[in-house]
C-alpha cells in the first residue's frame, strides 16, 4: 500500500514522510478523542445527554 502511494508521490522531494505524517496525526488524534470520550464518568455522561430534555 505504502509503495503504491510513494510511487505517485515521487514528484515531490522528501515525500516519503507524507503518508507517515498523515497516518501519525490521524492515529494520535483518534486515540486522543477516544480516550477523551471514555474517561467521562457515567453520571456526567447521563447528565449531559439529558440536556435537550431539560431545557424548557
Amino acid at each position: 500500500m505504502l509503495k503504491f502511494i510513494k510511487h505517485n508521490l515521487e514528484t515531490i522531494t522528501g515525500v516519503e514522510i507524507y503518508p507517515i505524517i498523515s497516518l501519525t496525526i490521524f492515529f494520535t488524534a483518534f486515540v486522543l478523542f477516544t480516550v477523551w470520550a471514555f474517561t467521562y464518568s457515567k453520571e456526567k455522561i447521563k447528565e449531559i445527554s439529558e440536556m435537550p430534555l431539560n431545557d424548557e
Binding site: N8, I12, V15, Y18, A29, F33, A37, T39, I45, P52
Partner: protein, 725 residues
C-alpha cells in the same frame, strides 16, 4: 443560586423557518423546471434568463443556501438558546444575520439568471456577493460565540460543537475558494486566482466540504437535539457522539479529491482522497446508528407520529448517502459513476431525504410550539410524509438505472473490439429519456408534498397565537477559575472554554486541507508544463467567458479520462499542463452532453471537429441537426453583439494572475479580435443559408456577434496539444 428571568427569541427562529419554506418551494420549483427541460429542451426557448445553464446554479444555490441554510439557522437559533439557557447574544446581530442572508439570496436569484457566474459549483456567486456572504457569516459567528460566552449552562452539548465546526469550516472554505480577482471594481466579472488543476483541487476541497459542513454537520447537531427531544429520550450514546464529532470533522476535510478521480489531478492527491473517503464511512455510520438507536423503545411512536417518521427516513437517507459516498470514491466504481446521472441520484438522496425530511420534521414540530397550538392536520403531515417518500424513490431509482446505462453504453465496444458500439453520444441520451420522465414525476410528487406542508403551516399559524418571546428562568452561571480546577479533567475544562474549543476544531480541519492543497499550489513540478500550450486569444477568452455565462459546464465536461473508451470517443486524455491558463477550470462534473475538451480537434471518428457553420446552426437550432437532441437553443448568442469594452481589463487581470500576455498583445487586442472574427465570419457566410439571413444586414455585422467568439473558443479546445500531421 438565585434564578434569573429572561426570554428566548422565538421570532428569529420563526423568520428563518418561514424563509426556509418559501425558498424551499422556489428552489424545488426551479429544480422541477430543470427536470422538464430534459424532456422539452425548448420549454423556455428564447428566454436567456430561464435557460438550463443559468437556472441550474440557481436551483443548487437556492436549495443549499436558501432552503437548507435557513432551516439550519432556524434549528441552530432554537436549540442553541435552549441548550445554553440564554437568549441570543444580540437581537440586532440576529436581525442583520436574517435580513442580510435573505438579501444575499435575492441577489443570487437576480444575478445567476442574468449570467453572472464564476462557474465554480455551489460557489457561482460573483465577488461582491461573496464578500457579503463572508460578512454575514461573521455576524452569525459573533452572535453564536457571544451566546455561548453568556450562557447559563456550564457544559456545551455536542449539538453545539457541530454548530461551531460549521461556522469555522464554512468560513475557511468560502474565503479560500472565493479568492478571485475582479476585472474592474465597477463590474461583476472576476477570475479565480487559481488555474486549472489547482483551481479544481481547491474547488472540490470546497465543494465536498460544503456538503460536509453546510449540509451535514449543522444537521447532525440538529439531529442530536431534535431527535432526543421529540422521542423524549436521551441520545443512544453520548460517548459515541464525541467520537463521531471529532473523527467526522477530522476525516471529512481530506476527502475532496474523490471528485477528481482519473482526472489530470496528480495521482498522490487522488489516492489520499480515496483513503480518507473510505475511512469516512466509520464516523458517518457511527452518527447514523446513534441517531436511529436513540429511538430504541419508542418505535411504536414512529407508527403514529409524523415528525418521527420524517426523522427516521432522514437518518436512513443519511446512512444510504454516506454508504454510497465512500463506495463512489473507489476508483473502479467512480470510473462508472462519474459524469453520469448516478451522481445526481446520490446527491438527491442526501438533499431530499436527509436535509429535506429533517427540515420538514423540525418544521412540523416547531411551528405548533411557536404558536401555542396543535398542528392543524396530522393527517396531512402523514400524507406529506408518504408522498415525499414516494417522490424520493421515484426520483432516485430511475437515475441509478440511467447512470449505469450511460456508463455501460459509453464504454461498450463492438464485438470485434475495434470501434465504439455507441459512437454517437446522442444514442446514450435517447436511451435514458424514460428515466428522465420518471425523475420528473418523482420531483413533482416531492414538491406536491411541500405544498401540502405550506397549507398545513398556514392553517396552523392562523389557528394559534404567536409567542415571539418565551419567558424562562434559570440560575446564572457561577464564575469559576478560567484555569483547570483541581481534579478537573482536561476535556471538562476544554468543554467549558468555547474559544479554546473552537481553536482546536480549526486545527483539526486545517491539517487535512493544508497537507492536500499546499503541495499542489507550491510545488511546481506537480504540474508539468507543456510548451505548446499558449494563452487564449482575446476572442477565445471572450468566448470562454460566454461559455461560463451560459453555464455550459453544467452539461459538458472538459476532461478526457485515461480510458480506452474515452480516448477513442474524444481524443487523447487530458494532462495537467493543458490547463495552466484556465482561470477558472472548466472540467465540469456531469455529461448530459459529450465532453468538449478536444472539441476543436479535426479528423476524429465521433464527436468534435465540426466546422464553424455546424456550431452556428447547432446553437441556433440543435434539433434541426439532430432531431432527438436535448440541447437547448442559444439563439440570443446569434442576436447579441459582443461587449468588448472590458477585454483589455480582462487581459490585464489575467496578466496579474500569471498569464503571459505581452503589452503588445493587450494593445492590439481589438485588432486581433477583428481579424480572427472576420475569418470565422467568412466561413459562416460561405454557407448560402446563413448568407441569406445575415449577409446583407446593415445592423451589426455577423463578426461582432457573441456566437463568433464562442465558436472561436470551441474551435480552440484541445488544439494546443494536437499532433500536427
Amino acid at each position: 443560586m438565585e434564578k434569573q428571568q429572561f426570554y428566548y427569541d422565538n421570532k428569529i427562529v420563526r423568520n428563518f423557518l418561514y424563509a426556509s419554506i418559501v425558498f424551499g418551494v422556489v428552489g424545488m420549483l426551479v429544480g422541477l423546471i430543470l427536470a422538464f427541460l430534459f424532456l422539452f429542451p425548448n420549454l423556455t426557448s428564447g428566454i436567456s434568463f430561464l435557460s438550463f445553464g443559468r437556472l441550474r446554479p440557481l436551483h443548487t444555490n437556492a436549495v443549499i443556501f436558501a432552503f437548507v441554510g435557513n432551516a439550519m439557522f432556524a434549528g441552530i437559533y432554537y436549540s442553541m438558546q435552549r441548550l445554553l439557557k440564554a437568549r441570543m447574544f444580540s437581537d440586532l446581530l440576529s436581525k442583520i444575520h436574517f435580513w442580510g442572508w435573505q438579501l444575499i439570496i435575492v441577489a443570487a436569484a437576480i444575478t445567476l439568471p442574468l449570467g453572472y457566474s464564476t462557474s465554480k459549483e455551489y460557489a457561482e456567486l460573483e465577488w461582491p456577493i461573496d464578500i457579503a456572504i463572508a460578512l454575514i457569516w461573521v455576524v452569525f459567528g459573533i452572535n453564536m460565540i457571544g451566546t455561548i460566552i453568556k450562557r447559563r449552562e456550564r457544559h456545551i452539548y455536542v449539538a453545539i460543537w457541530f454548530y461551531i465546526a460549521t461556522f469555522v469550516t464554512v468560513a475557511v472554505l468560502h474565503i479560500f475558494n472565493s479568492l478571485e480577482l475582479p476585472v474592474s471594481l465597477s463590474g461583476m466579472k472576476s477570475y479565480s486566482i487559481y488555474a486549472g488543476v489547482q483551481d479544481a483541487l481547491v474547488q472540490w476541497w470546497y465543494g465536498h466540504n460544503a456538503v460536509a459542513f453546510f449540509l451535514t454537520t449543522p444537521f447532525l447537531g440538529m439531529m442530536y437535539y431534535f431527535v432526543p427531544k421529540v422521542a423524549n429520550r436521551p441520545v443512544y450514546s453520548y460517548r459515541l457522539s464525541i467520537i463521531h464529532f471529532w473523527s467526522l470533522i477530522f476525516i471529512y476535510i481530506w476527502a475532496g479529491p474523490h471528485h477528481l478521480l482519473y482526472t489530470a489531478l496528480p495521482d498522490w492527491a487522488q489516492n489520499l482522497g480515496v483513503v480518507f473517503s473510505v475511512m469516512l464511512i466509520a464516523p458517518s455510520w457511527g452518527g447514523m446508528i446513534n441517531g436511529l438507536l436513540t429511538l430504541r423503545g419508542v418505535w411504536d411512536k414512529v407508527r403514529t407520529d409524523a415528525v418521527l417518521k420524517f426523522f427516521v427516513v432522514a437518518i436512513t437517507g443519511y446512512g444510504m448517502a454516506t454508504f454510497e459516498g465512500p463506495m463512489l470514491s473507489l476508483k473502479n466504481v467512480n470510473a462508472i459513476a462519474h459524469f453520469t446521472d448516478w451522481i445526481i441520484a446520490h446527491v438527491h438522496v442526501g438533499a431530499l431525504a436527509w436535509n429535506g425530511f429533517l427540515s420538514f420534521g423540525m418544521i412540523y414540530w416547531l411551528i405548533p410550539r411557536m404558536t401555542k397550538t396543535k398542528l392543524f392536520s396530522e393527517k396531512l403531515a402523514n400524507f406529506h410524509f408518504w408522498i415525499g417518500t414516494l417522490g424520493i424513490i421515484l426520483y432516485s431509482l430511475p437515475l441509478y438505472v440511467a447512470g449505469f446505462t450511460q456508463a455501460s453504453m459509453w464504454k461498450q465496444f463492438k464485438p470485434d473490439g475495434g470501434a465504439l458500439q455507441y459512437g454517437n453520444f446522442l444514442e446514450t441520451v435517447t436511451e435514458i429519456m424514460p428515466m428522465y420522465w420518471m425523475r420528473a414525476v418523482g420531483g413533482t410528487l416531492y414538491l406536491t408534498g411541500v405544498i401540502v406542508l405550506v397549507y398545513n403551516v398556514i392553517r396552523t399559524v392562523r389557528q394559534g397565537s404567536p409567542v415571539e418571546n418565551e419567558l424562562v428562568e434559570a440560575p446564572a452561571l457561577a464564575v469559576i477559575s478560567p484555569n483547570r480546577l483541581k481534579g478537573e479533567k482536561l476535556h471538562s475544562w476544554l468543554e467549558r472554554k468555547p474559544v479554546q474549543f473552537m481553536l482546536l476544531t480549526t486545527v483539526a480541519i486545517l491539517i487535512g486541507g493544508l497537507i492536500q492543497i499546499l503541495p499542489t499550489i507550491l510545488v511546481k513540478s506537480n504540474i508539468p508544463t507543456i510548451s505548446s500550450v499558449k494563452p487564449y486569444t482575446p476572442l477565445e477568452l471572450q468566448g470562454r467567458d460566454l461559455y461560463i455565462r451560459e453555464g455550459c459546464v453544467g452539461c459538458h465536461s472538459q476532461m478526457v479520462r485515461p480510458f480506452r473508451s474515452e480516448v477513442e470517443r474524444y481524443g487523447d486524455y487530458s494532462k495537467a499542463g493543458e490547463f495552466v491558463y484556465d482561470h477558472p477550470f472548466l472540467w465540469g462534473s456531469k455529461r448530459t452532453g459529450p465532453d468538449l475538451a478536444r472539441e476543436g480537434v479535426k479528423g476524429k471518428p465521433f464527436n468534435g471537429g465540426r466546422d464553424d457553420v455546424w456550431h452556428f446552426n447547432h446553437m441556433y437550432d440543435p434539433q434541426g441537426l439532430n432531431e432527438k437532441s436535448i440541447m437547448p437553443r442559444y439563439q440570443w448568442l446569434i442576436k447579441n453583439e459582443l461587449d468588448n469594452s472590458t477585454i483589455q481589463d480582462k487581459m490585464r487581470t489575467m496578466v496579474t494572475l500569471g498569464v503571459p500576455y505581452s503589452e503588445a498583445d493587450i494593445n492590439n487586442a481589438l485588432k486581433h479580435m477583428d481579424e480572427q472574427a472576420t475569418k470565422i465570419e467568412t466561413n459562416l457566410l460561405a454557407n448560402p443559408e446563413i448568407k441569406k439571413s445575415f449577409g446583407k444586414e446593415t445592423a451589426a455585422p455577423l463578426k461582432n456577434r457573441e456566437i463568433v467568439a464562442l465558436i472561436a473558443y470551441l474551435q480552440r479546445l484541445g488544439t494546443d496539444t494536437q499532433v500536427k500531421k
